[in-house]
Structure formats: structure tokens, C-alpha cells
Symmetry: C2
Subunit: 428 residues, 2 copies
């Protein structure tokens, strides 16, 4: 079984190492003899780890994806446009494809899957969501007969690292971000992580697989962590919560119609006792709830060369066995997901408001909540210099009501600033 | 695709319910139309849930496993002897088999797997270890290219429930056992759970799959929880540990020879911060460590009709797709695992000794530790009526040294009783 590898960065070179170290044991255990036939790179002269055979290197990607003796293409370039063309060419040339490219999948998942189905080959992408955790195959195969109600994940290691440091070391957002940058956890352009787009791309893939419906990146309601402040995290800690950036995919059962789905990314207050609350630093975890299976959790490393390469290797072996038998994993998603009207969703909310410290202010603020039918569960007033911070936890209310409440508060003369409002996720 | 179901108890009837509720969505998502063709029961007259079609019931198991129009046999009887004959007959008649029978697998795993390989069909058993958790497929497929170093599981819900109640509610072993019995968590004969045999059967299966070597039930060193006392659990709690019954499979790297493996079941002191420490009551979890993938954890319900039926359903769909393509999952385990000499393994130990409270006792006890080269990390003396309890945590030492120490202590006149000695599992 001959493999063409596109890309030889962090993940690509780790994959080569794994292949060299484990080729014999894979042959013994699965009967697959995996041979690396070519490695496509941009720059032939760049220094590579000593286990990368220079004789395999080439800059000619097209001839690799079209080579008649190559059976399987592994794509770990990351770039969206170039990767898409190469993967399409590979599938059209009847090769199976393994990719770790979540940005590409977020844009072109269904298109590529349809093409794979047409040519009768596989496209696998375990590494695209939650790195080394065997999550995608579990959802695609083991749980495909299960009616899942909710999938809640911590799927972005960078933001989870920042929130963990804010929580555990009392760091400000910018100090925690700086620490993450020093440790190399942050991309050159940090927006995809910090504004939740990376998590949203993964949420769309997760929801599509979990519910068997097409969910697109643009269907995902997305909010990042750039507005989370020390004071928010401190409040959470004092009240038995942690703050986590969640990717949450939910089935909303609508009577006598097809189900609707909500797919969202948002920072949330999560009870300390929730299994996801213990997921620290750059680790990932996904909590899955199903009607028959109950609660499941998958936990592990969401990024890094070796864990990602490990997930790629699992896909390669699975795809190789399918190629040998002429079989393929058939998973069709013919229907678009009906996306819920997000304004109708309900949850508890955390709302923090900075006000002028003068008589009557609390009453005027509370009135706005009441006028929008938002019921308050608890309130805390924190005195600052010549102002005060009012922090509210609400009873369950709709997104629409909260939006109108914040709008109303913004118009009050006595309100100086409205901090971050965050959803409170309760257990189960 | 026609299914013959052997057994219609808790799991069997839950499986029928799942099949009825999800048949359409499975057809839509995987293209498999799963039809229940026959249900083998012992007693036709017993009352069944209303969703079980009486027309499908039969007592003639052999004609079902041999029926030419049945493609796939699901075995959820549980009985070892009868199940084995039926599964063999089904495989010989070229049917794929899904089973949840861990006791059978512990005895006959390799034999049945070889038979499946010979006839070119599948035998799947996701439900046999850790119930609804998609663990087996993750190890067999996703992680088959990974060099795993250690697999540590909480795989018996009954004992985990008992230990959780002892820890959280200060119950004695017998009070916690009584509570578990009242809740229906305990089998008529509780020994398989309490003495660790159930966990040992699962450990043998886990180790075989994780390491790609044959590990048999008799290879597993096994110790249960019947000797764990309130005072042991209290000591653990005071010192930041929990007590858990662990199934631990380890690769012991031996220079210039084939690796050796240790596969053990034992109650252990586990740091509160370990991911497995938070696994409460009847939940199961398995912590997996690999060279490339790093740390993974799988968590969920280890038992119960619906979670088990969910795992069976995942296997059925996978096997059905393989049947359609004429493919099969090839996983050969040709070599026996080299089992380590257990006496050479090292760990830290907890040792509790009840002694006569008189001068010089501590010195004589400590001398026995020293004479066997066991170094003490900490000691606590707890005064009782006319005696005292000495509790030791040792530095890492061998199993052999601890066995000799306990033997020496037993011979001391001043030692009244030696309590449970338990391994202390440190992080990573």
C-alpha cells in the first residue's frame, strides 16, 4: 500500500516517524504493509529531521496525487485552496484520502464527501477535530445507530489554555494570551482561535456527523473569549463555576416536524463538578449525550505533531484495509439540518454591569430585567472607586429576552459599561 | 440485512427497541436496512415488553444460527457454554457475530477470532468491555498503529459504586455492598465482581487488543476489594487519594528482547487529581497512554440494558457494512504476550498494621521494612483502645520485597493483624 504525503511540517514529519517506527508492528497486526512513496514539500532545501528520506521529497504535488502506483493520499498542508484542488484530484484518480484540514472541511466537507462517495473511495479526517482523540470514528461508526441529543466539546486548546491560566493563576486575558504566545500555542493570526472560528469549524463537522445532517460553518452561532475579563473568571470561581469556551451541538425536538438543531460556540460558566470542568490547559474533551448510551466523554490531546499524526495513522490503516477489500465507509448526509431560531433558545445567563454608584441605580437596572421578563436568580454588588459592579445570574430565559435586556441597559444614563454576558450551562 | 438475536433479557429487549426506533435513520445514514428475523428465548410464555413481536420468538437456537437467510447473529445470552457452541456454528455457517459476552471471550477469544478469520467474517464485541463506551473499536481501529504503553481502567461498575459510597459516605464495605444489592447492582453470586474476576476478564481482552498479543485470563494477576476497610478509605481521603479498583495493562520494555507485559487487577490509592479519580458510582472509564497520542480517556456507562444495546448496535452496523462489501476487519494476534515476572514490578505501597501498643513496637516493625530493603516515605500512628494502628506509605519497591515484608511482620508477636496492603498509583 503506497502512500503519498502532502506536507512535511510538524504533523507530516511526525507521521513519517510513526510510519518508520511502527511499520513492522502494523504489518503483523493488520496485514497492511504501508510504504511511503513520496513527500510533497514547498522547499527542497529546508532542513528536515534525519528520519525524512531526502530521496522521497518532491515539489510536484500534482504528479503525486495522480501517480498510478500511489493508493492513498495524506494531506497535512493546512492551506485551504491548494489542498482542496489536490484532494479532489486524488479522489478523481481513485485514491482514498486522509486529511487533518478542518478549515477546508468546514468549507467543503459535503462536496468532498459526495465526490468520495461517487468514486467509491474514503475521505477520513479523524485529526481535524480534537486531534489525537478517536472521536470522529466513534461518532461515525460506533454511535451511528444512536439518537444523540447533545454534543458539548472543549475543542480549541489555545483558548482552553488561556482560560485555565486565568482561572488558576488569576491572570488577565492579555497576560494569559502572552503566556500562551510564549509557549507557542498561538497562531501568527490569533483571531481564528480567540474569536471562536476554529471551534466553530469543528462544531459544524461534529454536528454533521453526530446528527447525520448537513451543518455548515455559517450555521454556527459563534462568540469567542476576547471579552472575558478577570472579574468574570473571579466571580465564576467564587460561585463554584469554571469558564470554558464550549462548542455545543443540540437536538431541539419539535413536535410533529423534523427536529431542529442548534450549533453554537460560546464562553460559558460551567459547574466545577461537570466532567468538562476538569479539562485543563491545551487538552480537549467532548461530552456526548445519547438516548440509549447515556453520557460519554472522550478526553485527550487536541493538537501537537505526534497526537495529530497518531489520528492520521489510524485513518490511514482503516482506509488501507478498505482499499484492499474494495469497500468504503458509506455515510450519507442527504438532508440539510434545520437550524433553530437562536433567539428562542433558553438558558441561564451571567450579566455584569458597571454603574454609577448613586441611590436608585439598582432599581432602574432591575426594572429593565423585569420589563423584558428576565427573572433574576442572584445578584452581587461589588464596590469599586466611584462606581459599582452589579453581577446578575438569571433564571432560564431566552436569548432574545437577554438581548433586549442588554439593549435596554445600554440606554440607561447610570450604566457606564456592560461587561460580558455569558451563558450558564447546568449539569445534564 | 437479517439479524438473528440470541437472548431477550435486559440487553436483548433494549436492542430490539433501538432497532425499531432507529431503523429508518440508520437506513438513511448508512444505507443499511436492518431487519430482525428471529429472537431466540428459553421460555416462549414469559412476559415481554410490548415492542417485542411474539411472532419472532423461537426456542430453536440452532435453526436460527443455521438459517440461510440470516446474515448476522447477535448473542446476548451471557451463558458461556451454550453461547460458544452457537457462535461457532454461526461463524461456520458464514454469518458475522456480535456478542456482549465477556466471560466467553475471556475463555475463548483467540479461538473464536481465528475461526472468524478462517471463514472471512467478523466477530465484534464492543459491549463486552466498558458497556456503551466506544473503546474496543477505538483500540482495534483508530489506535492500532499506536505503540501503547499503558491502559488503566475502571471497568467494573459494582465495585466502583461500593468504593464510591465508602469514600463519599463513610460507609463500611458491608454497608456499601448492601446498598449496591438494594439498587440491583450486584449479581446473585457477587464473587466475580468483588474478587475482581470480572475486571480480570476485561483486562485480558483490553491488553490483547491494546498490545496486539495474546493475553489470557490466567495471565492476569487479580486482587479484589473484599479486604478494603473503612480505615483504609479514610486514610486515603485524608491524604488526597481515592481508592479505586483498577485494571492495569502495562508494557514493560526489556532491552534487546521482545517487550514484556503486566496485566493486573488491584485496588489502589489514586491521587484525587488523576482523571480516573473523578469516575463515580457505576460509571466506567479507561485511561490510555501511548507514545504518539499521549494521554486519552474514555468515560461512560459500563452497564445497563440501553448503553450495552447501543454498543451492540454500533457493532451490528459495522458488521453489516462489512458483509455488504465482503470485507472484514483483519486483526491478527499471532504471538503470545510475554508476561512479566510480577514479583519484579515496582510501585509505592500502602501498608496498615495493627500492633500491641507497647514500647519498642515501632522499632521492631520498622526493622522488618528495612531488612527487606523497603524504604518508608511516611508513617502515621493511630491510637486505638489497647492497641495502635501503624500506617505506612513506602517509596517505590518491588512486589517481592513487599511480600517478604508482610511475611516478616506476620511473624512478629506484637503484630496483631496486617490490614490490606495496596498499591499507590502515582500520576503519569
Amino acid at each position: 500500500m503506497k502512500i503519498g504525503l502532502l506536507g512535511c511540517g510538524n504533523v507530516g514529519s511526525a507521521f513519517i516517524k510513526l510510519l518508520i517506527d511502527n511499520r513492522e508492528s502494523i504489518k503483523e497486526r493488520c496485514g497492511e504493509d504501508l510504504e511511503l512513496a513520496a513527500v510533497v514539500v514547498r522547499d527542497l532545501d529546508r532542513e528536515r529531521p534525519e528520519w525524512v528520506d531526502p530521496a522521497l521529497l518532491t515539489t510536484d504535488a500534482r504528479s503525486v496525487v495522480l501517480a498510478p502506483d500511489i493508493d492513498l493520499i495524506v494531506e497535512v498542508i493546512g492551506d485551504v485552496t491548494a489542498s482542496k484542488e489536490l484532494i479532489e484530484a486524488a479522489l478523481q484518480a481513485s485514491k482514498s484520502v486522509v486529511t487533518a484540514n478542518k478549515a477546508l472541511l468546514a468549507e467543503s466537507y459535503f462536496e468532498l464527501e459526495d465526490l468520495a462517495e461517487t468514486v467509491g473511495k474514503d475521505i477520513f479526517f479523524e485529526a481535524a477535530v480534537a486531534g489525537g482523540i478517536p472521536l470522529i470514528r466513534s461518532l461515525r461508526v460506533s454511535l451511528v445507530g444512536e439518537r444523540l441529543s447533545r454534543v458539548t466539546g472543549i475543542v480549541n486548546g489555545t483558548t482552553n489554555f488561556i482560560l485555565t491560566r486565568m482561572y488558576e493563576e488569576n491572570l488577565s486575558f492579555s497576560a494569559a494570551l502572552k503566556l500562551a504566545q510564549e509557549l507557542g500555542y498561538v497562531e501568527a493570526d490569533p483571531r481564528a482561535d480567540l474569536e471562536g472560528f476554529d471551534a466553530a469549524a469543528k462544531a459544524a463537522i461534529l454536528a454533521s456527523i453526530a446528527f447525520g445532517r448537513k451543518v455548515r460553518f455559517n450555521d454556527v452561532q459563534c462568540e469567542g473569549i476576547v471579552h472575558v475579563r478577570e472579574s468574570d473568571v473571579n466571580f465564576a470561581r467564587r460561585h463554584g463555576f469554571v469558564v470554558k469556551l464550549l462548542a455545543q451541538c443540540e437536538r431541539i425536538v419539535v413536535r410533529s416536524e423534523d427536529d431542529e438543531f442548534s450549533v453554537r460556540v460560546f464562553p460559558a460558566l460551567l459547574p466545577e463538578t461537570h466532567p468538562l470542568a476538569a479539562v485543563r490547559d491545551a487538552f480537549n474533551a467532548v461530552f456526548v449525550e445519547g438516548e440509549a448510551v447515556g453520557e460519554l466523554m472522550f478526553y485527550g490531546r487536541g493538537a501537537g505533531g505526534l497526537p495529530t499524526a497518531s489520528a492520521v495513522m489510524g485513518d490511514v490503516i482503516d482506509a488501507a484495509q478498505n482499499l484492499r477489500f474494495g469497500s468504503t465507509e458509506r455515510r450519507t448526509r442527504t438532508k440539510d439540518a434545520r437550524i433553530v431560531d437562536y433567539a428562542r433558545l433558553t438558558s441561564q445567563f451571567y450579566v455584569s454591569v458597571e454603574v454609577v454608584d448613586e441611590p436608585g441605580v439598582l432599581a432602574s437596572v432591575a426594572e429593565i430585567f423585569g420589563a423584558n421578563e428576565v427573572s433574576i436568580s442572584s445578584m452581587e454588588q461589588i464596590g469599586l472607586a466611584d462606581e459599582a459592579r452589579l453581577v446578575f445570574l438569571t433564571h432560564p430565559t431566552t436569548e432574545g429576552s437577554i438581548a433586549r435586556t442588554l439593549e435596554g441597559l445600554r440606554r440607561l444614563r447610570t450604566v457606564k459599561e456592560i461587561g460580558h454576558s455569558m451563558r450558564v450551562v447546568t449539569e445534564g
